[in-house]
Symmetry: C2
Subunit: 467 residues, 2 copies
C-alpha cells in the first residue's frame, strides 16, 4: 500500500472512531494494558535489539536511557493508562446549550478532531502514551517514532493496535510509519490529517511547520523570563529564580532571562547572582549588571584587604574572596537565546513597563513570571504580558500539564489558536453544533412569523459523555 | 512606510490593546458610533464617488447594492455597535480555575488573539462591523476591503481609527490597506499577523490558505445535505428540504444535495420533488431517482389518458399533466458540487449508514440535517456525521451566528481547530494561564516535600471582565 491508500484507511477509521462509545474506548484501554503485560517478553526483546544496535552505533548514555523500555517503563505506562481509565470521557460533553425557540434546541458538544499524526523522539514509552491518549479522545492516529526505537515501536504498535481492535475499535485506528522518508510524504496529505503533533528539537518542529499545510500543535521555543520587581522579597526572588533556572535546565519552561528592576538591584542583585553562581549558573550580563558586579568586587577586595590586616576578619575575608562573581558580558542585543543549560542572561530594567515590553519583544510567549509584593504591578504584568502562561510569585517550572492538574499532558502549545500552553486531552478535541427541532424552517423567522427566544439552558454535568 | 514598518506598528498596538479595559473599549465603540453619525456627509460623499465609478465600469446591480453605504446602512451599523455595547466584555472571563496547592491558584482567562487581518468584499458596512468586533474583543486589526469601495473604506477607516484613538485606544490599532498587491505582501508576515479572516468567494479563501503560513479562519465550501430517512414525516421533509434549498440559495448553508431513503422514496419522492420543481428548483438526479420519476410520469400519462376519457377526471388530468417532473440525469460521480443556485442533486440511498458515509465522503463538513422520527437514527446521525453543524428535523439554513444567538457573527469556520461552525466574538479570542503564588518552587513538589491538591475552584460569573 502507498501512503495515500494507508491514510485513506486511517481516515475511514477516524470516522468510525466517532461512534466509539465510552465503554468501547475504556475496554480498549484496559485490553491494551493487559496485552502489554502479557506480551512483555517479546516487547522487551525487541527493545533489547534496538538498544544493542544503538550502543554499537555509539548513542550517548542519556539517549540510551530514554530508548529503554523495561520493567520500570512498562509499570509507568500501564499506570498512565489506569489514570486515563479513571478519567471521565472527554467526548460528548455539552459545552453550551441554548433554546433557539420552543422545540428548537442548540447544543455545542465536544468531539474528536479526527486523524492526528504524532511524531516523536526515540522513546518507546511515548508511543504507548500517545496511543492511549488517542483512544480516550476518540481520535485515529498515525505514529512515527525515532528510528533508533524501530523494533520497539513495531512490537508495541502491533500489540496496541490488535488489542484495540479486539476490544471493538475500528481496523486501522492506529497506523505506524517506520521510515523517516514517510514523514515528508505524510505531511503532504492535508486532506486526511487534521493535526500534526511533533515532539523533538525546536529545529525539527520548525521544519515541520515550514513544510506542511496541516495545522501543527507544539512548541518551538521556550525563552522564559523571571522579572524581579523593585518591591520583591529578596529571599522569595532568589528561590524562584534558582528553581526556574536550575531545577531542570534542559526543559522548555526553565528561565533563560532574568530581568531585575534597578531599585531592587541596588541591594538585591549581588546576593541573588551570588546564589546563582554558587549553583553553577553561568551569567551573561548587560553592561549595567556588569558595573554593579565590578563595583561589588572592588568593595569585596577592599574588605578582603581589611580582613587580612585584622585576624578576626580572616574567615569573612576568605568567604568573600571565594564568592567573587564571574560573568560574561553580553555584547549583542540578542535576548532571545534558549540556553537549555545552566546559563542565564541578566538585564537591569528601569521599570515594570520596560520589563513587560522586553518580554513581549524578545520572549517566545511560553511562560514568564514576576516576583513582587504590589498587587497592582502583578495585575498589570499578568494582563499585559502576551504569553501562554504568566505567573506572579511562582517558578516558571510549574508550566506543565500534570502540575496544572490536566490529568494527562499532550504537550505544550506556544501558538495562540486552538490550544495554548500546557494542554491535556482538550488539545485533542474539537466541538460540533447539534440542532434538534420539530421541522422548523428559517423562512418563518425571516418573514417575522416566528421569533427566536435565545435562552441559555443550564449545563447539566450529568450529561457529560452521553453523546 | 513599507509593509514591515506598518505591521510592526500594528503589532505594538496589539500589545497595547491587551491593557485596554472594558470602559475604554466601550467608550471607543460609543465614540465610533457618534463619529460615524457626525461625519455622515463626507462618508456618503466618498461612497457616492465609489458608486459612480462602479456604475461607469458597469458593475452589476446586486454588487452596486452591496457597495452602497447610505442612511439605511448607517443606521444598521450603528445598531450593530449598540448591540456590541450591550454585550458583556468577552475578555478576562475566567474559563477554568484550580487550586494547585494552598496559596497557588491557577486560572485560565480569555484574552485577545493579537493582530488580526480581515479581508473582505466590496461592502463598506463590513468594515464598520469588523472594526467594532475588533474593539470589543481587544484585537488590533489590519483591514483590506474590495477595491470598488476604496473611497468609502478610506473615509470610514479614518473616522473609526480616529474616534477609537480619541477614546483611548492605542495609535495604529486599525490599519487600512488600499491595494490588492498589499494582500500578497501582508500574508508573508506571519511573525506579526496572528490570524487571517478572509471573506469572499471560495476560490479567494482557498488561494489565501494556499499562499500563507498564517492561520486562516473561514470557510471555503458549503456542500450541505438533507437526508430524508425512511420514517420521515412527508410534510415536514418537504418543508425542510424546500427551506434548506430555496430560502436563500446563494448562501453557504443552503442545501446542495438531497439524500432520500429508498423506503421513503417509494411513496414520498415524487411529491417531494414536485414541490421543489414548482419552486423552480432544477434537479440533478441519480439513475434510481430518474427511474422513479420516469415511472411516475408513465403513470401520470396513463391517468391523463383515463381522465381524458372520463369527463369528471378532466381537472385531475390537467393538474397531473402540468406537474410532470423534469430532471437532468447525473452522469458523473461528483457529489461535491456547490451550486449556490436553485439547483439540487438528488440521490436515493438504501440506509442510514449509506447516508452518513455519503455525507462524510462528499460533504464539506458545513451543515447537514436528517429528517426522521426515530430517536436512534437521529442520535446516530448527530454523532457520526463529521460536520461542524449537524441537525435533526431542522433546515440547514439555521447555521448562522445570529440564529445561534452568538450575539455577533464573525463568520463560519469549516476548519476543525480553534473555531468550528458559526462563530461569534469567541472566534477572535484565545486564552492564557495565570498562576498566582506565594513564592512556590517546583523542587519542593519534585522532592516530595509538598504535594499538589488540584482542587477545581467554582467559576464565579461575577469575575467576568475583571481581568
Amino acid at each position: 500500500m502507498n501512503m495515500q491508500e494507508r491514510l485513506d484507511l486511517a481516515d475511514r477509521a477516524a470516522i468510525a472512531m466517532l461512534s466509539a462509545d465510552t465503554e468501547t474506548k475504556d475496554a480498549a484501554l484496559a485490553r491494551i494494558s493487559a496485552s502489554l503485560e502479557s506480551n512483555r517478553a517479546s516487547i522487551f526483546e525487541a527493545n533489547q535489539k534496538d538498544i544493542e544496535v544503538a550502543r554499537a552505533a555509539g548513542l550517548a548514555a542519556p539517549l540510551l536511557k530514554r530508548l529503554a523500555f523495561n520493567e520500570h517503563k512498562l509499570t509507568e505506562v500501564r499506570s498512565g493508562i489506569a489514570d486515563l481509565l479513571a478519567m471521565p470521557d472527554p467526548v460528548g460533553r455539552v459545552l453550551e446549550a441554548r433554546l433557539l425557540d420552543e422545540g428548537l434546541e442548540l447544543r455545542r458538544i465536544s468531539c474528536p478532531i479526527g486523524l492526528i499524526a504524532m511524531i516523536f523522539e526515540s522513546r518507546p514509552d511515548a508511543l504507548v502514551q500517545m496511543a492511549s491518549l488517542a483512544v480516550k479522545s476518540g481520535n485515529a492516529i498515525v505514529l512515527k517514532g525515532g528510528s533508533e526505537a524501530r523494533a520497539s515501536n513495531a512490537a508495541l504498535a502491533k500489540v496496541i493496535a490488535e488489542a484495540g481492535e479486539a476490544a471493538g475499535l475500528p481496523c486501522h485506528w492506529l497506523t505506524l510509519l517506520e521510515t523517516r522518508e514517510e514523514i515528508g510524504e505524510l505531511l503532504k496529505f492535508d486532506q486526511y490529517i487534521d493535526l500534526v503533533i511533533p515532539r523533538g528539537s525546536k529545529e525539527f518542529v520548525a521544519r515541520i511547520k515550514a513544510t506542511s499545510r496541516i495545522p501543527v500543535l507544539g512548541h518551538s521555543d521556550g525563552v522564559c523570563h523571571v522579572y524581579v520587581h523593585e518591591d520583591a522579597d529578596p529571599t522569595m526572588a532568589t528561590a524562584i529564580v534558582l528553581d526556574s533556572k536550575t531545577q531542570y535546565p534542559a526543559t522548555c519552561n526553565a528561565a533563560e532571562v532574568l530581568l531585575v528592576n534597578t531599585k531592587f538591584a541596588e541591594t538585591g542583585l549581588v546576593p541573588l547572582l551570588r546564589t546563582l553562581r554558587s549553583a553553577g549558573v553561568v551569567l551573561d550580563v548587560c553592561p549595567r549588571t556588569a558595573a554593579i558586579l565590578d563595583s561589588a568586587r572592588a568593595k569585596d577586595s577592599a574588605w578582603a584587604e581589611q580582613g587580612a590586616r585584622g585576624a578576626k576578619n580572616a574567615e569573612a575575608a576568605a568567604r568573600e574572596d571565594t564568592s567573587v562573581i564571574s560573568y560574561t558580558m553580553k555584547t549583542d542585543d540578542n535576548w532571545s537565546v534558549e540556553y537549555l543549560d545552566l546559563r542565564i542572561a541578566v538585564k537591569i530594567v528601569d521599570s515594570l513597563d520596560e520589563a513587560i515590553a522586553h518580554i513581549n519583544r524578545y520572549g517566545s510567549g511560553h511562560t514568564d513570571s514576576i516576583v513582587c509584593k504590589s498587587r497592582e504591578a502583578a495585575r498589570r504584568f499578568l494582563k499585559e504580558v502576551d504569553s501562554s502562561s504568566v505567573y506572579h510569585n511562582a517558578s516558571t517550572r510549574f508550566a506543565d500539564g500534570y502540575r496544572y492538574g490536566l490529568g494527562a499532558e499532550v504537550g505544550i502549545a506556544t501558538g495562540k489558536l486552538h490550544a495554548r500552553g500546557p494542554m491535556g486531552l482538550q488539545g485533542l478535541l474539537t466541538y460540533k453544533w447539534l440542532l434538534e427541532g420539530r421541522g422548523q424552517v428559517v423562512d418563518d423567522y425571516a418573514s417575522g412569523k416566528k421569533h427566536f427566544i435565545h435562552r441559555d439552558l443550564p449545563l447539566n454535568d450529568s450529561s457529560a459523555g452521553t453523546f
